[in-house]
Every structure is written in structure tokens, then in C-alpha cells.
């Protein structure tokens, strides 16, 4: 921690302060610089490759450029250094920049993977499997529903399909505003994969009845209008079904783990995710059942 503060103070222009984020990541801000300590145990080589990808000029104006490509080790943690930006205000989710986000994803998806130093595989599918594994030993009906939905899906890390440059973990916390407007942040899951995964969270929220349909359609309109091709040109759900279902499993598993850790019952939003897992099982079973004759 002291070393990370020192690094922030060395690059930054003001005293270092810790920025709230998820528990396994540490972010320290010093004026116009943030220093990120990546999750404990994160391997060095994939992060180094992702830093080289994101530093490439083809991604300027799309993903935040690091102050240095260098990955430093401090106290056993991998650490990277970035310019600071202003995140989307969580207190005002209705003002979230859905269209801007959609256009940035469309621009990212339009960058040919071969134009940038090659990143590893995108992190999305692996995160689903890792999050679902946290439910191991949870005997509740809700946990069974989530495991049941995952069991219906094909092997997520072995799905053939068009692959391109992908953010890998997109949600509204993955945007900051800088002097040049909104820009995507977080390289941890950047990679080559099915780009439809970058739309999977809003798709899953819409399918769970949590996201206002008008917002979802605005988001998808803006994505397609900006040339975004991950959902094809016809019915977007042909490409979105699998990533959105897998993401629903991930979100439900995360919600169950949090509720269990906090020793409380599921709230209405978390229940909606579990119910969506039950519908996924019904949908997949109906699709794949073979008529017996």
C-alpha cells in the first residue's frame, strides 16, 4: 500500500487517496493520475500484452491510454499507471451515457485485431465460470437454479464464432470522462473473442426486466448506427442469447455470493436474476429437446 501511494505521488500532482472500487482491486489517485493494483494473483504476461495493445495508437479516443506501458510489481501486486478521469455518477444512473458507450464499443469492435499488438483471449467467458464456481457447496434452491442454467449452456470457452477485439467486461463503471469526452477504461479482460459479449450485460439486464426497454433499444440503436457489427444485421438475439444468458448466470452467482456473505435474503433485483436463470433452463430445454417417436 505504501509503495503504491509512493508511485501515485511520483506520477501525480496531489496527495494520494484511495478510490473506492471492487474488493480485489486497489486504486489510488494522486491529482490527475491513478495507480491501479490489479487483483492478487493476476498473471503478469497477459497484463503486459494487454498494456501493449491498449497503448497502440489505433485505440486512441476509444480506450484510455496508460501513462506508461510498464507493469510494476509492488508488494507482490501488479500495478499500472493511468491518467485520472471522472466516472459515471452512480447517484444518477438515468443520466448514464448509454449512446456514447455504445459508440465507443462499436469503434473498438471496428479496430482489426491484426492492427494492434495481439492481446490474449478476452476475459468474459472465463469470468462466468469463475463466478459460478463460488456457488460450490451452496445448497439453496437459488444456487441450484443458477448452476442448472450454466449446465444448459455450451462450453463457453470453446464456442466457435467470429472473433475480434473485445473489451471483455463492459458495464457503466468502465467509462470515464476526460477532457476529450467519454472513454473506455480497464484492460484486465481486453482481448480477442466474440464481441457480442461486450453487449451482454445490458442485454442480460434487459432480459431480466431490470433495464428499461427504451434504454436497451437506444443503446442497441446507437451501437448499430455507429457501425457496430457484433449483433449482425437481423435479430440481435441470435448473437446475444448465449453471452447474455452466460452473463445472467455470472450476475446471479455474484448476487448469491454477496447475499450469503452478508447473511441476508435475496432482494427483488437478485430474485429477478435467479428467475431469469430458471427461464433460461426452460428455454434451453425446450430448444434442445428432441421429439421422441
Amino acid at each position: 500500500m505504501a509503495g503504491i501511494r509512493d508511485l501515485a505521488a511520483r506520477y501525480g500532482t496531489a496527495p494520494a487517496e484511495v478510490v473506492p472500487t471492487r474488493p480485489d482491486v486497489l486504486i489510488v489517485r494522486a491529482g490527475d493520475v491513478v495507480v491501479k493494483a490489479h487483483a492478487p494473483g493476476a498473471p503478469r504476461e497477459p497484463l503486459e500484452r494487454r498494456m501493449r495493445t491498449v497503448a497502440h495508437p489505433a485505440l486512441r479516443g476509444i480506450m484510455l491510454e496508460p501513462l506508461t506501458e510498464e507493469v510494476v510489481t509492488i508488494g507482490g501486486r501488479l500495478v499500472t499507471v493511468w491518467p485520472a478521469g471522472t466516472p459515471v455518477d452512480p447517484a444518477d444512473p438515468d443520466a448514464a451515457p448509454w449512446e456514447e458507450a455504445a459508440r465507443l464499443l462499436a469503434r473498438l469492435h471496428a479496430v482489426p485485431a491484426g492492427r494492434v499488438p495481439p492481446p490474449p483471449a478476452a476475459g468474459g467467458p472465463g469470468k462466468v465460470v469463475a463466478m459460478a464456481a463460488r456457488l460450490r457447496g451452496n445448497p439453496s434452491a437459488a444456487a441450484r437454479a443458477v448452476r442448472g442454467a450454466l449446465a444448459c449452456l455450451p462450453d463457453l470457452e470453446d464456442v466457435p464464432g467470429p472473433a475480434g477485439l473485445t473489451h471483455g467486461d463492459w458495464h457503466m463503471g468502465q467509462l470515464v470522462r476526460t477532457g476529450d469526452g467519454w472513454i473506455l477504461i480497464d484492460v484486465d479482460d481486453l482481448g480477442v473473442g466474440d464481441q457480442a459479449w461486450d453487449l451482454a450485460r445490458p442485454a442480460a439486464w434487459f432480459a431480466a426486466g431490470l433495464l428499461d426497454p427504451a434504454v436497451w433499444h437506444r443503446f442497441l440503436d446507437a451501437y448499430r448506427a455507429a457501425g457496430g457489427s457484433a449483433t449482425g444485421v437481423g435479430d440481435p438475439w441470435e448473437r446475444l442469447n448465449l453471452p447474455a444468458q452466460a452473463t445472467t448466470v455470472q450476475l446471479a452467482a455474484a448476487a448469491l455470493s454477496t447475499a450469503e456473505r452478508e447473511g441476508r435474503a435475496l432482494d427483488e433485483v437478485e430474485e429477478a436474476l435467479v428467475e431469469t436463470c430458471q427461464r433460461i433452463v426452460q428455454f434451453r430445454t425446450a430448444c434442445h429437446s428432441v421429439p421422441t417417436q
Binding site: R22, P87, V88, P90, P93, D94, A96, K127, D169, H171, M172, G173, A203, W205, F206, A207, A208, G209, L210, L211, D212, P213, A214, W216, H217, L220, D221, D235, P236, W237, L240, N241, A244, Q245, L251, A254, A255, T258, D267, E268, V269, E270, A272, E275, T276, R279, I280, Q282, F283, R284
Partner: protein, 88 residues
Amino acid sequence: MQCPKCRGNMRTYERNGVHIDQCDSCRGIFLDYGELETLTRFENQYHAAPPPPPPPPMHHGAPGWGAPHHGGHYGHHRRSWVGMLFSS
């Protein structure tokens, strides 16, 4: 027929079921018995029946495994929904 005001020639028009006599010279309009009431009725219907609000846009469709959207009640302000919107 002659205009009762300027003695000009009056011509008959029909607009949406209402007979209107208009003078070619002074452009004055003459309504037959009951035609003013017909116009008033049309006006009231126009004000009383605004077009129904457009349905929410669903032009990209919804998946077969999606929640039934009953409209209106989205969990924007639930703590766990906002948390999920912004975190990995």
C-alpha cells in the same frame, strides 16, 4: 344563390360532410341549419380524443427467455441494481 351581404354569387362546397356556401366576391360563408352544431361536434371530438401514446419501442425484439415487461417498474433505484450497473 346570392350573397345576403354583397349580392355576389355563392358557391357550395362540401368538406367532411358539412355543406358550406361561400361568396365568390366577399368570401363570406353561410352555414345551413345544423351545420354549426356539426362543426362544434367535430371540434369536441378532436379535443376529447388525443391519439393513444406510442407503445414502448421494441424494434429489436426480446429473447424468448426474457422477463415479461409490464412497463414502468424498473429497479433503477434499488441499491443492488445500481451496484450491478457499475461494477464487475
